[in-house]
């Protein structure tokens, strides 16, 4: 436990000191994007702790963004007010969605989150008078941190990373205490957990709403950061990438959320920058193919994510997702490379 506390302190110190060494707008912007994605991914990992997988996080991210943008643009409220307001509102939406959705098992739950994501995206495109449709919303009011000028890249960096570290801390607290034990029990077996008196549906709802709130918070900050939003960054493809970040980091480890978001984003940027050096005159096609191959390679060599979970995933081998035929159960250690 103390290793983890030291690690967290080190991370916080590193985050605070980084802008001294890395100060171009690009580097700070990249770190800001990573920070926002990390918040979403940590939420996804929280959800993963109960064995649920969501393909709809981009919808919550987008709802937070549109919510805060519309409130501040339409009602003139300060973003400092609209960001928490939007986050709370989306949490409410998640509760309403979770009531029917969480009663579905395994793949059907995934499909429900996917469907929710599609429906939200369609609404963003269709409700033109409200959302601006495909053309999106421009001139979103800026966030002002110190004074009247819009926040700078550096100021956003500190804000976003404070939120990210806070999110990490909160998630860690959730998973290391009673809720965490309950979640681990649910992860192992919902039946056994219920038999032991764990209120399965209550805990599942808690992490579902929490993960949606995380995503919405990140989305709301995003809206005031980029100051232009449109439906396209909030589609299924984005949800898939959030999932990839979570899995690459390690789906049941909170730290994995942070590392996954960083690794996936940085990998993309590095590939796109470096490949033209090897193959001059080459465009994005090569990078996409190489990225795909690298993703496969990373998952083959790090199947449990880049950060080994503290939670013993052997219990999780009972599979939160039902696997017919018991394929994996039937092939334990001999097929598994440690």
């Amino acid at each position: 436990m103390t290793w983890e506390r030291a690690g967290f302190a080190l991370l916080a110190a590193g985050v605070a000191a980084l802008p001294v060494f890395v100060s171009t707008a690009y580097a700070l912007a990249l770190l800001n994007i990573i920070g926002l994605y990390a918040i979403v991914t940590v939420g996804l990992v929280l959800l993963g702790c109960s064995g649920q997988v969501s393909l709809g996080q981009a919808a919550f991210y987008g709802l937070g963004a549109y919510g805060s943008a519309l409130l501040s643009r339409g009602l003139g409220w300060s973003p400092w007010l609209t960001i928490p307001a939007a986050t709370a509102a989306v949490a409410g939406v998640a509760y309403a969605v979770g009531l029917p959705a969480l009663r579905l098992a395994g793949h059907f739950f995934v499909l429900a989150t996917l469907g929710f994501g599609v429906i939200v995206n369609v609404l963003m495109v269709q409700l033109v008078p409200v959302t601006g449709g495909g053309n999106g919303l421009r001139d979103i009011p800026p966030l002002q941190i110190a004074g009247i000028r819009p926040a700078t890249e550096r100021q956003f960096y500190y804000l976003i990373w404070t939120l990210a570290l806070g999110a990490l801390l909160l998630a860690r607290n959730i998973t290391s205490h009673r809720t965490g034990r309950a979640l681990r029990a649910i992860l192992g077996s919902e039946v056994a957990a219920a038999a032991l008196g764990v209120e399965v549906s209550r805990y599942k709802m808690q992490v579902f709403v929490a993960s949606a709130a995380y995503a919405a918070l990140a989305g709301a900050v995003y809206a005031h950061y980029i100051r232009f939003i449109s439906p396209s960054p909030f589609a299924l493809y984005a949800s898939l990438f959030f999932l990839i970040m979570a899995v690459v980091g390690g789906l049941t480890n909170i730290w994995g959320g942070l590392f996954g978001a960083a690794a996936v984003t940085v990998l993309d940027q590095v590939i796109r920058a470096q490949v033209p050096r090897v193959f001059p005159r080459v465009g994005g096609e090569y990078q996409t193919a190489i990225y795909g191959v690298l993703l496969v390679v990373i998952m083959i060599f790090f199947p449990r994510g880049l950060v080994r979970g503290a939670i013993d995933l052997r219990h999780a081998q009972a599979h939160p997702l039902p696997v017919p035929g018991g394929t994996a159960d039937a092939e334990p250690a001999e097929e598994w490379r440690a």
């Binding site: 059907f108 609404l123 899995v247 996409t288 993703l295 092939e331 598994w336």
Partner: protein, 291 residues
């Protein structure tokens, strides 16, 4: 409105045939290996584009189609060997991400080789469209429906009457027991991927004369096929076929009668309602559905 319904039904049947094939491909791989193959749509894309290229090299359509399908089957087998096999035993989500990485790689390569523009394939039997009960059915759509049904029938015969087919079914039912009787799950995994690739190839080649083929057509196609497969129960081949037709019909009907803009959203709502109401996927209290 009287001419709308027959037209929508015919459209729904046509698109449903394609979705059924893709859904079958999903179900085949899932039931044998437990993997959700996100690259399923890419098999259709590759077969269509390879066929278009072979045609441009002046091969007759039949030969081009067969060679393209065979090539995609090889790609499917290679995918299983190179990307899936090394990760066998990993968590299903890891495998899902691997298949997503594979689909990205295929898309990138397709963009490199064929560029971003759409490609066309000629109709198998060019000619005027048929008018059926107030709706128009183009000839290629008949090919789509007929081929889809033929492939499904052939697949069922394969499963019911042949030894390899029985082996696949056994493996899907219970991998452990299958190993006890000497069936190799590894071989079955390879077979599943190859067969699924073949299914995807048929879907791709038969739909392209209607819709054109682009390097990124696999995404939407795979999504629809996935939805259809899950509706059908995901480990259930007849369910997948029915799911495919259901998705196609609901899509056509909601677009036609309710609102084209909200069509996709309404389709998903209806499907989710169906899922919820039939309770097949629900966790009854705390009881988990047996694997």
């Amino acid at each position: 409105m009287s001419t709308l319904l027959p037209q929508l039904l015919l459209t729904g049947l046509t698109t449903g045939s394609i979705y059924a094939l893709v859904a079958l491909g999903f179900v085949l791989i899932y039931s044998v290996t437990g993997i959700l193959n996100f690259a399923q749509g890419e098999f259709s894309m590759l077969s269509a584009l390879v066929c278009a290229t072979l045609l441009a090299w002046h091969l007759p359509l039949g030969a081009a189609a067969l060679i393209a399908a065979a090539a995609v089957c090889a790609v499917g087998a290679l995918t299983e060997r190179l990307a899936i096999r090394p990760a066998s035993g990993a968590h299903p989500l890891t495998l899902l991400i691997i298949t997503f990485g594979v689909s990205m790689a295929f898309r990138g390569i397709a963009l490199m080789l064929w560029g971003a523009d759409p490609y066309a394939l000629p109709e198998f039997t060019p000619g005027p469209a048929l008018v059926l009960l107030g709706g128009v059915l183009i000839r290629q759509a008949i090919w789509a429906i007929a081929l889809s049904l033929a492939v499904v029938a052939a697949l069922f015969v394969f499963f019911a009457r042949t030894v390899p087919g029985a082996a696949v079914r056994a493996c899907a039912d219970n991998a452990f027991a299958s190993r006890l009787v000497g069936i190799s799950p590894r071989r079955m995994s390879l077979l599943a991927f190859t067969l699924s690739a073949a299914l995807g190839a048929v879907a791709g080649i038969v739909m392209t004369p209607i819709t054109g083929a682009t390097y990124d057509m696999g995404l939407a196609l795979g999504l629809k096929g996935f939805v259809a497969a899950v509706i059908g129960g995901l480990a259930n081949a007849p369910g997948a076929v029915l799911g495919g037709y259901l998705v196609g019909l609901i899509e056509a009907l909601t677009t036609g009668y309710l609102s084209p803009g909200y069509g996709t959203a309404i389709t998903f709502l209806v499907l989710l309602a169906v899922l919820f109401l039939q309770r097949e996927g629900l966790v009854h209290g705390a009881r988990r559905r047996p694997a």
